[in-house]
């Protein structure tokens, strides 16, 4: 059978045989051969892939850049945590510590934001303090990105954005939305079961969770080194009161709450009672003595500090939500949570109003203010008095962006 005959058969039968089709191609010439076109196609493909890789790499590397923090009028000093824990130097876990010294001596308060960077009210509260607070009595230490490495990635398979934007009078300001855990490129692999420095046995992935890694180990995993460094900071700076800021999903029972080490329980209870008169319902939970590795347990056990953890409401980290986007992160409104609330599945009320970032940061700020006020009344010789902080009411009226406006930082408040 001739080649032409095969071609006809192939055409009639719907080109079942590609070999037959190839035989219909015109004979190769020097100017127009099949190899030439293949090379062009391959070249285009390579260029497209290279461009995609370059764009992705740029996005990927951009996650390592820290959005700026603008030190406010109260900042008197700034240092890296590695200055007291050299083992962190040069690692992604090293992070900034901001210091606000009061005009007169008193107690020392540590605020930890960003333990879990997928809980944005935590780091935003710390940044609001850094950019607005003035300490009148005592000393304030603020770590806004406690797990710095976890700000450089997002949680796999969650579809979370890398950043979100808060409108300020001086323009849009970008913040990083991160992961609950240390970036795997900084600490890998995870063990199957993680037996922490506290002795608590946990799922392997918790090895990268800062709030399961206390009291830490300066020779252990990177996250354990970080935990040990924070505890060293508490010891070396003689921190009297230490507050770890968090958020929780609406279906989690420990929410809108203060979790307190037993040493700090009377302080937390009293603060909750008085916050109620300011319109803030906040529960109190005692830190379980048999749940190890958490800040409110290990800080209190290992040091004399009064250890507390505060939770607000963040639907973006829950399991019942829709897509995570900037709107959900900042406005905290979600139709699925409204349905869940109607079925009695949540531990907080949930309406169309959602739980906006102003409410969440405002609750944290008011709770910190109340805790320091009561602490100061109970420790007259070691007061901690802070001014300049917005309240929940201020934030509700003016918006968080008003207090995070880089353009008002005309005066250089960088620490000496």
């Amino acid at each position: 059978m001739s080649a032409k005959g095969k071609t006809r058969i192939g055409t009639r039968t719907g080109l079942k045989d590609n070999a037959n089709e190839k035989m219909t191609s015109p004979p190769p010439t020097e100017k127009n051969d099949g190899k030439g076109r293949s090379w062009i196609a391959a070249g285009v493909l390579i260029a497209v892939v290279a461009a995609a890789v370059a764009i992705s790499a740029r996005e990927f590397v951009a996650m390592w850049e820290d959005p700026p923090i603008y030190p406010g009028p109260g900042i008197t000093e700034q240092f890296m945590l590695s200055s007291i824990a050299p083992e962190l130097a040069g690692s992604a876990a090293d992070t900034e510590v901001y210091v606000l010294d009061g005009d007169s001596p008193g107690g020392t308060l540590l605020i930890l934001g960003g333990t879990h960077p997928n809980e944005p009210a935590s780091s935003l509260t710390a940044i609001t303090i850094i950019e607005n607070a003035v300490v009148n009595e005592g000393r304030l230490l603020v770590i806004p990105r406690a797990n710095h490495s976890a700000f450089t990635c997002t949680d796999p398979q969650e579809g979370a954005p890398q950043t979100y934007v808060i409108e300020t009078p001086g323009g849009d300001r970008l913040f990083r939305y991160g992961s609950r855990a240390t970036n795997p490129i900084d600490q890998w692999p995870d063990p199957v079961i993680y037996v922490g420095s506290s002795g608590q046995a946990l799922a392997g992935a918790e090895v990268r969770n800062l709030n399961r890694s206390y009291p830490g180990d300066s020779g252990g995993y990177l996250t354990e080194k970080l935990a040990a460094a924070i505890l060293d900071l508490i010891r070396t700076e003689n921190v009297d009161l230490a507050i770890d800021l968090h958020e929780a999903s609406p279906e989690y029972p420990v929410i809108n709450a203060i979790v307190a080490h037993e040493n700090a329980l009377p302080l937390a209870v009293e603060a909750a009672l008085f916050l109620e008169f300011e319109g803030i319902q906040i529960g109190v939970e005692a830190s379980p003595i048999n749940l190890r590795g958490l800040s409110h347990r290990e800080w209190g056990d290992a040091t004399d500090t009064l250890a507390l953890l505060i939770e607000s409401t963040n639907p973006a980290q829950g399991r019942l939500r829709g897509a995570i986007n900037s709107e959900l992160i900042l406005e905290g409104a979600d139709p699925y949570y409204i349905r869940a609330a109607g079925q009695g599945l949540l531990y907080v009320p949930f309406s169309d109003a959602g739980h906006p970032i102003e409410e969440r940061v405002g609750r944290h700020l008011d709770t910190i203010a109340m805790l320091t006020e009561i602490y100061s009344s109970q420790h007259g010789d070691q007061p901690i008095r802070i001014s300049g902080l917005p309240t929940l009411s201020d934030l509700s009226v003016r918006g968080l962006g008003t207090y995070l406006d880089p353009s008002i930082r005309e005066t250089d408040h960088s620490p000496p």
């Binding site: 029972p253 005692a286 907080v348």
Partner: protein, 207 residues
């Protein structure tokens, strides 16, 4: 004359009967009172008992507080205050499950009764401390009390506090109090419990 005396007797009878009824009504309306010293304990291991302790301090009450004490703590005291509210973290830390906790509390009440103590059941953490486990405690313990104090809405009165603060939104406490003929006081804010304790224990405010 005899007729007049008869009328006077009838009037006298009515007056005395009326006075008797009035006295009875007054007794019924009189607030229940309790005596110190007081023992404050938790049922459910939430921080509510710690809050009650702060209320007791502010009320000037003679009290001892222990989250989950031995029964011997009751000896020498007049009133037992059980603060209801389940915390899974608290129960876990205490190493007990909810059934064990309820059984312990029932035995505690029984021992208090042997010692002729009165019992107050408090729930002061609001609606945020309601849920299946806390409700198990409430159903088991509140009916055993002589008096209930709850942070929640008074039936028929509009609740102006937040939804989270209302532990009586479904009328559970009102129903238990009515069915068991137990006195009950509703408070809007936890610190309002100071005044309630001062009333119940007849404590005069100090300057």
């Amino acid at each position: 004359m005899k007729r007049r005396l008869g009328w006077m007797l009838i009037v006298l009878l009515f007056v005395s009967a009326g006075a008797a009824v009035g006295q009875e009504a007054e007794e019924a309306a009189a607030p229940e009172t309790f005596a110190a010293p007081v023992v404050i304990v938790s049922v459910g291991q939430s921080a509510g008992a710690q809050q009650a302790r702060v209320l007791a301090i502010r009320a000037g009450l003679d009290y001892v507080f222990e989250q989950r004490p031995e029964f011997s703590i009751l000896e020498g005291s007049q009133t037992l205050i059980l603060v209801m509210g389940a915390s899974s973290k608290g129960l876990g830390a205490a190493g007990v499950d909810i059934d064990g906790e309820i059984a312990w509390a029932i035995d505690m009440v029984a021992r208090a009764r042997e010692l002729e103590m009165k019992v107050i059941a408090m729930h002061i953490e609001g609606g945020a401390r309601r849920g299946s486990t806390s409700d198990q405690i409430i159903h088991a313990i509140a009916p055993l009390a002589d008096y209930i104090v709850v942070k929640g809405a008074t039936p028929g009165v509009e609740w102006v506090e937040s939804e989270e603060a209302d532990a009586n939104a479904d009328g559970l406490f009102s129903t238990i109090a009515a069915e068991n003929e137990i006195g009950i006081t509703y408070i809007a804010k936890t610190l309002d419990g100071v005044e309630v304790l001062m009333d119940l224990f007849e404590i005069e405010p100090t300057e």
